[in-house]
């Protein structure tokens, strides 16, 4: 976390922005690892083979998203309290930052998998992937960061948390169909 180096070490400022910074960190770490998520399997031919296997592609992309979440989202959820200390997160905020990340990062992984499936066939899909996924992340980021921020300020967090959970549940349920559909199109 290099944020204090760039914005200065004032503890007031850090305390104010730390929930948002943690969410931004979650988003960036998610984004960074996305372009290899399906591209490797595309290159070595596993995707072709998986597409002809009895496992439906919807399940494949769901498992891929789960694997992505376990390797990027979950560590960040676990590390959030520690990073919170470094960023001078107010004590009331810890629990809400962790809860909002826990609820929100799965959505980031699932939406990201859709972006990865869209750009899987492209030689230099990385930049395009970020461009496509960024606007799709806006609602999750807003509700997630808002819940964390309100939690840190000791305000009510129910509405943003409910919205966040709703987004996560909806994308986990529906997004795999879109991801599998674009993957099938890319595999033709």
């Amino acid at each position: 976390m290099v944020v204090p180096f760039s914005v200065g070490p004032e503890s007031d400022l850090l305390a104010r922005i730390s929930p948002g910074v943690l969410w931004l960190g979650a988003l960036l770490s998610c984004l960074l690892s996305l372009d290899r998520l399906l591209a490797l399997d595309w290159e070595d031919g596993s995707l072709d083979l998986l597409a002809t296997a009895p496992l439906p592609l919807e399940a494949v992309v769901s498992i891929k998203a789960l694997a992505h979440w376990i390797t990027t989202g979950l560590p960040l959820v676990l590390a959030a309290p520690l990073l919170g200390v470094l960023l001078n997160l107010p004590p009331e905020g810890y629990i809400w930052v962790v809860i909002s990340l826990l609820l929100g990062t799965p959505a980031l992984s699932v939406i990201g998998t859709f972006g990865a499936a869209l750009t899987v066939g492209l030689k230099r899909g990385g930049l395009l992937l970020s461009l496509l996924v960024m606007p799709l992340y806006v609602p999750t980021l807003i509700f997630g960061a808002e819940a964390a921020r309100r939690g840190a300020l000791g305000m009510g967090v129910e509405t943003p948390l409910l919205m966040l959970a709703g987004i996560s549940a909806a994308v986990i349920a529906l997004m795999p169909f879109a991801s599998a559909a674009v993957l099938r199109i890319n595999l033709r």
């Binding site: 399997d41 070595d44 031919g45 072709d48 083979l49 998986l50």
Partner: protein, 242 residues
Amino acid sequence: MTLNVSNLRIARGGIPVLDGISFALKPGQALILRGPNGIGKTTLLRSIAGLQPPLAGTVTGGEDQIAYAAHSDGLKPALTVAENLSFWASVFGTRSIEAALEAYNLTALRNRPAGALSAGQKRRLGLSRMLVTGRAIWVMDEPTVSLDQASVALFATAVRHHLAAQGSALIATHIDLGLDAAVWMSAPIRPNRWGWVILTGRSCESALGAGSGPGSAGGWGFWPGTGVFPDCHRGGAVFCWA
């Protein structure tokens, strides 16, 4: 389970490359596809495997029966030989991998990471995957690339066993697999209107050697004059089936 392909028309990049492909592949039979590069062998195999929807025509009898092997093997370099194979065995919900390792002489290499294998060894591992799928119809694209003589023999043996067990195989290859005479069948020559020859049995071999055939390259159904098979005029594509 008989694989029935009828009047298949397939496009690649928006341009039709194959049309009027029909055949039936019965249990115990192998169909060998031969022809120059770019003729559409891979396209046909991908379409039959269900990856690419055809523009017209149908493929029936292959539902949940087809095991597909592409140009690349889909191996994970960090996993060992046995782990790679077990993964596919669990995806297809099948039993042990020992027989497959045995058939391709990979037992000694089972704990070697796939990334440390030679090209030929990787290919053998890729081919052994077909055995753990437990599926009846093998659809294979250039399976013998980078294999040495001994490994090709292993592959031919595996195919023969598969056919003997009432499996069937659809293989695009340039190598004579030396399949037994019992496997070959005979049927009349059926040239189609684009100069494709679908040959069966022994007549295949002679036609491939002679390099001539009916050169009646006509026009395309809906992109007239696109004549996508430049070699048709010279009797190019030969579909051989055994």
